[in-house]
């Protein structure tokens, strides 16, 4: 089994707000991230896939294919977007780094055929990042 990691970058804005909480609760829990006008980050996405090396190609996965899937499923939908308003999953979920990792996993997993998704890692900042391994 060999693991392969592909990086991508995207820039997006978001804010944290739960309509079930009062205005005070939202501010207390989410702090500055609660500003309804949003704020932005340069996100770095790391997608790790695993699989056996194909003896003919020497590949775990065709990188061009993986890049096309990442472009289509993630970057086209999220790069230079306001996540709360333009990405349907975040109409009902809060676009935290944890939820971004989960949503990106859910978008990618069904599109990969040869290689198996191992980990989705999303860096919101160089000092803050979340991982999702597809665990319930």
């Amino acid at each position: 089994m060999v693991y392969l990691t592909r990086k991508a970058e995207f820039a997006a804005s978001h804010y944290y707000h739960n309509p079930e909480f009062s205005a005070e609760e939202n501010l207390r829990i989410f702090g500055k991230c609660n500003n309804p006008n949003g704020h932005g980050h340069n996100y770095t996405l790391e997608v790790t896939v695993k699989g056996n090396v194909d003896p003919q190609s020497g590949f775990v996965v065709d990188l061009k294919e993986l890049k096309d899937i990442l472009d289509r499923e993630v970057l086209d939908a999220m790069d230079h977007r306001f996540l709360n308003k333009e990405v349907p999953e975040f109409f009902t979920q809060i676009p935290t780094t944890e939820n971004l990792a989960i949503v990106i996993w859910q978008r990618l997993a069904p599109k990969l055929n040869k290689a198996q998704l191992h980990r989705v890692r999303v860096y919101e900042m160089p000092d803050l990042f979340a991982d999702f391994y597809g665990e319930a």
């Binding site: 944290y16 702090g31 000092d127 979340a130 991982d131 999702f132 391994y133």
Partner: protein, 136 residues
């Protein structure tokens, strides 16, 4: 769903690797330059990984403000700009980065129940890093 949250912190400290139960010659042989009696320092990068179910109300594994507050008061204030050999945690053990990982892991495991502690990773220099806990 279970996600992993990773947070990086910086601190600077000095140390000397020396074991009183070994002879001067053995200490020099074992620790080399790190045995210099005057000590030397590093800019340490501490990476803490916690995990848990993402709370559907907040989108979070745990509140980052609480994690930051705990690490600041219980770890950074204890070790930042200190001589590690003089800090009480290292009166009996050599302040190698291996031991520093274990000490910080124990502080977090005992004092921060808000999320499950997975691992502590420390970069002593850009070339050396150490991890303790569950390595995925």
């Amino acid at each position: 769903m279970k996600a992993y949250l990773n947070r990086r912190y910086l601190f600077s400290a000095s140390h000397r690797l020396h074991n009183d139960t070994m002879s001067a010659e053995e200490n020099r042989r074992t620790y080399g330059k790190c045995n210099n009696p005057h000590g030397h320092g590093h800019n340490y990068v501490l990476e803490v990984t916690v995990s848990g179910q993402v709370d559907p109300r907040t989108g979070m594994v745990c509140n980052l403000v609480e994690l930051d507050g705990f690490v600041r008061s219980q770890v950074l204030e204890r070790f930042d700009h200190q001589n590690l050999n003089l800090v009480k945690e290292f009166t009996e053990i050599v302040p190698t980065t291996e031991n520093l990982c274990i000490v910080i892991y124990d502080i977090l495991r005992r004092g921060f129940p808000q999320a499950h502690l997975e691992k502590v990773r420390i970069e002593e220099t850009m070339k050396n890093s150490f991890e303790y806990g569950r390595i995925l």
